[in-house]
């Protein structure tokens, strides 16, 4: 377990330091949420209706933002080759890197969500619901994104392509996340159904993401 903790600490430090890390993601999240009322109008009733969706889309975009550097930076300076040659399973390396990436970028998004929810006029129940769904769902976004990051790791400017590859796979997360958040304040479905689906998708991504991204890293390194 020791090497995993060490790797986690290293990854977290780098993610928190490089380019502002956590703050830059939250800042981008804030910018996206701010832009929405300018696009759709300042009608508070409507904002309350689409608020959960705005927060979720903002979180999705903010997560995609830094994903292209997830493995690429380590590949460029040779760290990735060292990690893979160390004999540790690539799946676990991916898992630890994802955990650190989520802790540095996903978690700050979840923490800042209640504040940003005020801008889109969400009521307290909805704020709690959207924060909970983001807490459950953003790890899935990072893990699914890791597959895209692994597949595009050898590309010099793979950022946009990565987003195009990852967004279709992230649609179920978005659907169930937003559905659960809106169901909490009186939708046609109970809150628990979409939330449990969201949990299932996150658990599924917990397996699929590391396996696929690990395979992609093995391919890229040999």
């Amino acid at each position: 377990m020791n090497w995993m903790t060490a790797l986690f600490v290293r990854e977290f430090k780098i993610a928190a330091r490089v380019g502002g890390g956590a703050l830059i993601g939250v800042l981008f999240f804030l910018a996206v949420v701010t832009v929405f009322p300018f696009g759709v109008g300042p009608d508070l009733k409507m904002l309350a209706r689409i608020g959960a969706a705005v927060l979720w889309i903002g979180a999705l975009l903010a997560t995609l933002l830094g994903l292209d550097r997830l493995f690429q930076a380590d590949r460029e300076d040779g760290t990735l080759d060292l990690l893979l040659m160390s004999g540790r399973p690539p799946e676990l390396i991916v898992l630890v890197k994802c955990a650190a990436h989520w802790a540095a970028t996903g978690l700050p998004l979840v923490i800042s969500a209640p504040v940003l929810a005020l801008f889109v006029n969400l009521e307290p129940t909805a704020i709690g619901a959207v924060t909970l769904t983001l807490l459950v769902g953003t790890p899935a976004l990072t893990l699914i994104g890791a597959v895209g990051a692994g597949v595009t790791v050898s590309l010099r400017r793979g950022g946009v392509l990565l987003s195009i590859l990852v967004i279709p796979l992230a649609i179920p997360v978005l659907i169930f996340g937003v559905s659960a958040a809106t169901a909490a304040v009186g939708g046609p479905t109970p809150f628990l159904t979409p939330l449990l689906y969201l949990c299932a998708i996150s658990l599924f991504a917990l397996v699929l993401g590391p396996v696929a991204a690990g395979a992609a890293l093995r391919v890229a390194s040999d």
Binding site: V147, G148, L161, I164, L165, S179, A212, V219
Partner: protein
Amino acid sequence: MTLYDLANPTRFLSLVERIMPWLIGATVLALATGLYMAFFYAPEDYQQGVTVRIMFVHVPSAWLALLCYAMMAGSSIGTLVWKHPLADVSAKAAAPLGAAFTFLALFSGSIWAKPMWGTWWVWDARLTSFLVLFIMYLGIIALWRTMDDPIKAAKANAILTLVGVINLPIIKFSVDWWNTLHQPASVFRTDGPALHSSILVPLLVMAGAFTLFFIMMHLMFMRNEIYARRIRAMRMRAASAAQPHANVTAQIREV
């Protein structure tokens, strides 16, 4: 790539040359029969009128769009498990075809929507799923085009394709779920009441014709891709022959 591997594509090419005339003949015949049946044998729907004939393009296209993805997934397993170059070629050749069929399914669905519901696009579960599939196809094509090394591109694409094939049912399920949440009325009736044989037979003939066309185009695209790889290998050989001390030879071995 060893001699043994190269022999396989050569045999494959001669096989393609041999069956291509028959395949073209069968495709033309099936398409002609299908078109004739679609227009003169199938009756009009009492509700949809003449627009029911759109179905004879829409449903086979949608079917081929999925079949093509299944084909790519099968080839991807060939790439990852057996590392067969022909599987790489097959997956690469299938991607634009799948995108074309998905586009055709989307286009015909959109055109069908206009007289049926008065709008060019409905966020119907089936159309939406196909839109997502279309984006996935385009992403796969983009990934093929951005990676230079054919072997690494094949493996990266194989992983992406397989992740996609695992996710497709989840996407389909979530889109269906989302759709019932927002508009309870289901729209396309192809899986609703049982189709009468006067519709079903032309539909199956058209589906067969589309499948034959797909196989024909897939073989043609595969042949083109094999030619492209030979050209690439020969150019690299020429480059290494021109400057014998450069380490280009190391690259050739990779190809």
